[in-house]
């Protein structure tokens, strides 16, 4: 996929859910800045997945990958929505 892909061009592409470890999250807000369509700061100033990312799954975007990668405390984990397996960070 290129950066110019149409929405939906990834039909059959990975859909993901993101989980927040609330014990680890320190509310840096870096994820909400990087990937506002996937994560927001919610109750108690901690990160929460938005829309499908907390439920049935949604498209894996470059922004979300970056947010997971750059979380200062590694509180974010990506899972395959269909397979349930962990995508990132690697075990």
């Amino acid at each position: 996929m290129t950066a110019g892909s149409e929405p939906g061009a990834g039909a059959g592409a990975e859909t993901v859910v993101v989980r927040v470890d609330r014990e680890r999250c320190i509310g840096s807000g870096m994820c909400a800045l990087s990937a506002p369509d996937s994560l927001a700061l919610g109750a108690e100033g901690l990160a929460e997945p938005v829309a499908g990312y907390g439920g049935d799954g949604a498209e894996l975007t470059a922004e979300l990958t970056e947010a997971v990668d750059f979380c200062p405390v590694e509180a974010l984990t990506l899972y395959s929505a269909r397979g349930g397996y962990r995508i990132a960070p690697a075990e």
């Binding site: 509310g27 100033g45 405390v73 590694e74």
Partner: protein, 405 residues
């Protein structure tokens, strides 16, 4: 081994100071108005939940503290007051700068250094033993360990220990040095930072400076001034607070808390638990010139039931929050090896949460565990009341600490 810090010393008329682990009288309660040493009004926030809000609520920031309309925060600005600092920008601009270094400091990135850090620790203990009784454990252990670690991470092989001490003391000075002396020292420190940057651009390596320069070049929005302040800020932050925390932990563990020494030696997990409790309960410094982590409101905010107007300076007293009697009921004597019942805020929270938190934790737990294992009879040879403290800085730690085993 001689003391190398210029900010030393009990001058005439300076009373002995209580060790940092001795609880200070802190008033738990809702935010209340006080004043900074400059006379600027400041809202003191001290309860656990209120401190968390002050540090994570986006209606408070660091950049507004240095806006043109901001009131004076200090009579002698130090490195932390540099508007170029990563600490003093917010939002997207802050994130772009922080991401140039973030990847090097995540828990997994730090864990890769663990065996090497352990080997540095063992080497320092070997040298202490070779030196023999009595020894100054600051000069021989608490200071050289974090200096060695940050030097290795940043590839600063020829960092002169005396110049570093001089710069660090000025970088975090409150009253130890004049405003002019701080400006001069920070000018020299910035020249050092610029030289390191020029050297790594010409000949990149595997070090943190080379990687942050590559990330900044890719980003394209980061100024040279920001890079220089980031590099010298990493040098100072990378060792000073770890040295302080380790020194003050040893004042406690070799004195009032001596009964725990044997268990610290038992396993790394015990040392890791103790590290969290020590970080919580032993503050990095006093609150007389530094009432807490400062923020400024960009709009009216209610914290702990109190309405704080837009444009107010707020001090989040993390050491009070870490001792909030509504949250933490035990003390170090009973809970040193117990897991924390709530987050501690020694590393802050929110966007400016300490970049080096995981590195500091790892250094502290290994340093305590290995020292207790190798020197089971280690003890202070001077009473805690006569400790020579580094004074007039944001942090307070022993200038030297005589021990025997």
């Amino acid at each position: 081994m001689s003391a190398e810090n210029s900010a030393t010393g009990a001058g005439p008329g300076t009373a002995p100071l209580a060790p940092l682990h001795c609880p200070r009288h802190a008033e738990a309660g809702p935010p209340r108005l006080s004043a900074l040493p400059t006379g600027t009004p400041v809202w003191l926030v001290s309860r656990h939940a209120d401190v968390r809000q002050a540090l994570t609520d986006p209606r408070l920031g660091r950049a507004p503290l240095y806006a043109p309309d901001a009131p004076p925060l200090t009579n002698a600005p130090n490195l932390l007051d540099d508007p170029n600092s990563m600490l003093n920008i917010d939002g997207t601009e802050h994130q772009r700068l922080r991401r140039t270094v973030q990847r090097a400091f995540t828990p997994r990135a730090i864990a890769r250094w663990r065996p090497w850090v352990a080997s540095v620790i063992e080497g320092l203990i070997d040298e202490l033993i070779d030196h023999g009784n009595p020894a100054d454990i600051v000069a021989g252990y608490t200071r050289p360990l974090p200096v060695a670690v940050i030097s290795r991470l940043m590839g600063l092989d020829n960092l002169d220990s005396k110049r570093l001490a001089h710069w660090s003391d000025h970088a975090l000075s409150t009253t130890a040095h004049s405003a002019e002396a701080i400006v001069t020292a920070m000018g020299e420190f910035a020249e050092f930072g610029s030289a390191v940057i020029a050297e790594r651009r010409a000949d990149p390596g595997e070090d943190l400076v080379s990687s942050l320069l590559a990330a900044a070049a890719e980003d394209g929005s980061i100024t040279e001034g920001q890079l220089v302040t980031l590099v010298i800020g990493l040098v100072v932050a990378g060792h000073e607070t770890t040295m302080t925390s380790l020194g003050n932990a040893l004042v406690y563990l070799l004195g009032d808390g001596r009964d725990a020494w044997q268990r610290l030696a038992a396993d790394e997990a015990s040392a890791a638990a103790a590290t969290e409790q020590l970080l919580r309960a032993v503050p990095l410094g006093d609150t007389d010139h530094f009432p807490g982590l400062l923020r400024r409101t960009v709009e009216e905010v209610e914290i702990g039931g109190v309405v704080i107007p837009a444009g107010s300076v707020v001090a989040a007293d993390t050491s009070a929050a870490n001792m909030d009697p509504e949250v933490f009921t035990g003390d170090l004597l009973t809970e040193l090896f117990s897991p924390l019942v709530a987050p501690m805020y020694t590393f802050g929270a929110g966007p400016h949460h300490c970049l080096g938190a995981w590195l500091a934790r790892m250094e502290l737990e290994l340093a305590l565990h290995r020292l207790a294992r190798r020197l089971p009879s280690l003890r202070l040879t001077e009473p805690a009341g006569s400790i020579d403290w580094r004074r007039g800085l944001l942090t307070r730690s022993p200038n030297s600490l005589q021990v025997a085993w």
